[in-house]
Symmetry: C2
Subunit: 189 residues, 2 copies
């Protein structure tokens, strides 16, 4: 499992990362089953997760307790509630596995260790943050102006893996439309 993360890091920081193997010891490996929650809103988010395999859902509840999904993240990506992780304030979002998933978790102390052992690691946090930010900006700009049908087309074009792997219910919640509308419009594409 660690090997996948190793490749991921090398592809970003280059081959010559000193102490990489020691650094990777800071990650704890865990397996989570489908529908297992790994963060509840109100708790402090203690870890940043690297997804080795599977898929995580980041979501909130609206006032009628419907879930709305801010993000769906698959293998070879990072996932966390970064705002809570960074500030140690209670999280405003929930995270759960929507597929059986293999994760590598690192806590703040681990991050600290890494920064000291591998100076370039400073960049990794910045990269994760920048990627997350870019993703959310993109999501706002893409979605505010699009109709339900256009959102579906967008997902098919740019996130085809999500479309084929996940339930309609989940996709609809990610697109911000009802299941019924999703079901109907899907047929029209």
């Amino acid at each position: 499992m660690i090997e996948i993360l190793k490749q991921h890091i090398i592809s970003r920081l280059g081959e010559d990362v000193t102490n990489l193997n020691e650094v990777l010891q800071n990650f704890k490996s865990l397996k989570v089953s489908r529908n297992e929650t790994i963060l509840n809103q109100g708790e402090v988010c203690k870890y940043v997760y690297f997804i080795v395999s599977g898929c995580l859902q980041v979501y909130v509840y609206d006032k009628e307790f419907n879930e709305t999904t801010r993000d769906l993240i698959i293998e070879d990506n990072w996932c966390s509630e970064l705002i809570s992780f960074g500030s140690q304030q209670p999280a405003t979002e929930n995270i759960r596995a929507v597929e059986p998933s293999e994760l590598l978790a690192i806590d703040r102390q681990g991050f600290q260790n890494m920064m000291e052992t591998v100076p370039q690691f400073d960049k990794v946090y910045k990269q994760i943050l920048e990627a997350s930010y870019a993703n959310s900006v993109y999501r706002i700009n893409t979605f505010v102006a699009l109709t339900a049908l256009e959102r579906i087309k967008w997902l098919m074009d740019y996130r085809p893996k999500l479309m084929s792997r996940l339930s309609s219910k989940l996709i609809a919640s990610y697109l911000g439309i009802s299941q019924e509308t999703f079901s109907r419009l899907k047929a029209k594409v």
Copy 2:
């Protein structure tokens, strides 16, 4: 003008910032008039702006060339197209002043100088990035699930200054609703 930025930085990094005055020399002061564009999509974003007074709009065009506004940022805040600024790739968003504005601009070289002169300054970029990220996450989670009326109420409660200062047209574009719907629902609140 610089004095306001100085207070802003002191409030975040504390009183004892070494070389602060020299650091502030890296900022160029500029005045922009209403409707003046300071970044066009396709260009590389060269500056991060601190808004001393006024208001900036960050927006994109949809396929019918309507503007959709991702953010409206007022005085005492930072504004940039951070993804372009960080990567030096072409910007995907436009920025314009929607009020006559006084800005302090710093370029990458200036940022570099600051990091070297004031070690704590490293934090400032991270803080700007984190704040921007938190803001966009909040925007996604708040808006995806809200009706037009609820969005208006939200704006009145949490961004009352925007509501009173800016045109209905702009506010509607920020809320992702038509001007007419905004006009009608505003009366019902």
